[in-house]
């Protein structure tokens, strides 16, 4: 299952401050879309509006439209909690719940809202989610050990398992490899390739090689200067962005002339 996202004229504010201005884009289902751009250009902020996570900061708001399969996520009777169940997220630093075992971490999202599931069903879900995150073989003998005992890369895959256990339509990844070593990074990139058949994946990355390796489409964000809003400069097939971008700024960035 995966769904498309359509964003129309989205402005993002923190209080009176306009952080990101006028973003419109279409994110295709069952594909990987990468957001690249210099620090502070608003790509992470924009990513967080796709599951209404930016709202947890007081004063944050948006105008414009974000539609998931035609349903406006900011519609008047949409519950942000429901949105986040549908649009999963993986963070920059691995954040398994330290007080929970590996198994309980995977089940954390499922157990929310006091949902009860049978043990056999839970076992199955734990295995399928961990297999889905390429972690099963490494942890199957220590499911009851704390998740914080795993390596950084394993923790991040545990977080991915936790996110896919609730069967979202979309998976957002906010620089998921920036705290990982190259080998763990490779494992996550392989995983992204497998996951894209079932989920719409959006990944923010600082690493342009990574964007080139994993994504089908790439969106380049930029900022005109400090205190100015971030903007979407250009979005196209990843191959086009890296070989023949339309905009000069994009070309400068991907060729390493700035940023």
């Amino acid at each position: 299952m995966s769904q498309r996202i359509d964003v129309t004229d989205l402005n993002i504010y923190y209080g009176d401050f306009l952080a990101v201005e006028g973003v419109s884009m279409a994110i295709q289902p069952s594909s990987v879309t990468a957001f690249i751009g210099p620090s502070g250009c608003g790509k992470s902020t924009f990513l967080r509006t796709l599951n209404r996570m930016h709202e947890v900061i007081p004063g944050a708001r948006v105008d414009g439209k974000v539609e998931l399969e035609g349903v406006d996520l900011y519609g008047p009777d949409i519950d942000p909690v429901a949105v986040r169940r549908n649009v999963g997220m993986v963070f920059q630093r691995p954040n398994p719940f330290p007080t929970m075992s590996i198994r309980d971490n995977v089940l954390a999202g499922v157990k929310l809202n006091n949902k009860k599931i049978a043990k056999s069903e839970a076992d199955e879900l734990v295995e399928s989610s961990l297999r889905g995150a390429n972690l099963w073989n490494e942890v199957k003998d220590r499911l009851h050990k704390p998740g914080s005992g795993l390596s950084g890369g394993q923790q991040q895959r545990l977080c991915i398992a936790r996110a896919i256990a609730v069967k979202p339509q979309v998976l957002l990844m906010d620089e998921p490899c920036s705290a990982l070593d190259p080998i763990s990074t490779l494992a996550i990139e392989d995983l992204i390739q497998q996951l894209k058949t079932s989920y719409t994946i959006v990944i923010v990355t600082h690493n342009m090689q990574q964007a080139a390796r994993v994504s089908d489409k790439t969106a380049f964000f930029n900022i005109a200067g400090t205190g100015k809003p971030g903007r979407l400069i250009e979005m196209d097939d990843t191959a086009t962005i890296f070989s023949a971008p339309q905009q000069k700024a994009t070309e400068d960035y991907v060729s390493g002339r700035f940023g």
Binding site: N51, M53, V56, V81, A82, V83, R84, R85, N86, G88, M89, F91, R93, N95, P96, F97, P98, T99, M100, S101, A108, G109, L112, N113, K145, P146, S148, G149, C159, R162, A163, V166
Partner: protein, 310 residues
């Protein structure tokens, strides 16, 4: 350590010295208690009776210490049971629910509770709270008495250990709240966001991220509160109508007494072996407090792997 020079070296000595001083003070108190309690602990039952140092009708020191230990534990544990949930609730309100300005004001008010002297709590508890809360106790006692085989009495004065425990609960509320609040505030943002991103409601964020993270801190906070409740003297002395019995009649007067209040009430007129008896009860209090602290540490350490202090 050969490279250590000047102030760095001096500071090492100051720091080590402070640590040693702490141990020395603790040892001095323990030695004093044991040494002074020894005459009472070793005195024969005849001596104790002959010198009239025990309350009427008692022939052994344990007949005194046991009910006192019981009364002390009942008062302190009741206070803890009342105060902890309320303190955790207030702490969560301050750290996660209240708007910024309100939370600062509430935090300040709770801290103010700690600034009220215990003698004032005693006055308030005895003069104001007891006559009011006795109605609650009477009703509770009557309701509980409906259960087969249970006879619960309540005093008409309200000067029962239940009333004392309520006042103790108010007194330990600030310390438990303050420590819990600080722990809850330190919940890593990452863990809260992890819960939010899974579609957690505000309560579920608290349940999955905040409370597990703060658990050991709340236990420590409760132990600090318990320590204060165990040793609190003045308020209990002024509120409770004491008796030296091992009794579960917590709404009745003349049933229990706490060690601290017992010592305070007897000491002014005590001399000779009587003082040693009082110090022996003090030693009992010291031992209880130590055991409880060790138990608390054990509880906290038991799940260290899962504590989040990775």
């Amino acid at each position: 350590m050969t490279a250590e020079r000047g102030f760095s070296r001096g500071f090492r000595w100051i720091s080590t010295g402070s640590g040693i001083l702490l141990l020395a003070i603790l040892a001095a108190v323990a030695i004093f208690l044991v040494q002074q309690a020894l005459p009472a602990l070793t005195a024969s039952s005849e001596d104790l009776v002959a010198q009239n140092v025990l309350p009427q009708g008692m022939t052994s020191l344990w007949q005194l210490i046991l009910p006192l230990v019981f009364g002390t534990l009942v008062a302190a544990l009741l206070a803890l049971v009342i105060a902890t949930p309320i303190a955790v609730g207030i702490a969560l309100y301050i750290s996660h629910y209240a708007p910024k300005r309100v939370s600062a004001a509430v935090g300040y008010l709770v801290d103010l509770l700690a600034a009220i002297p215990s003698v004032v709590y005693g006055l308030w508890g005895g003069a104001t709270l007891a006559p009011v809360i006795r109605h609650v106790w009477t009703w509770l006692a009557e309701t509980l008495s409906l259960l087969p085989g249970l006879e619960v009495r309540a005093t008409a004065t309200g000067r029962s250990i239940a009333t004392a425990a309520v006042v103790l609960a108010v007194m330990i509320l600030p310390i438990i709240t303050a420590v819990s609040r600080e722990v809850f505030k330190q919940t890593p943002r990452l863990h809260e966001e992890a819960a939010l991103a899974l579609g957690a409601t505000e309560w579920e964020v608290i349940k999955t991220a905040v409370l597990p993270f703060g658990r050991s801190g709340v236990v420590s906070a409760a132990m600090l509160g318990l320590g204060r409740a165990l040793g609190e003297t003045m308020a209990v002395l002024m509120i409770l109508s004491p008796g030296i019995l091992v009794s579960f009649q917590i709404f009745d007067a003349g049933q229990q007494q706490t060690i601290a209040a017992f010592i305070a009430s007897q000491f002014p007129e005590a001399a000779g072996l009587r003082v040693n008896v009082l110090i022996a009860t003090g030693l009992a209090l010291f031992v209880i407090t130590m055991l409880i602290n060790m138990a608390a540490r054990w509880i906290v350490a038991r799940r260290k792997d899962f504590s989040g202090a990775a």
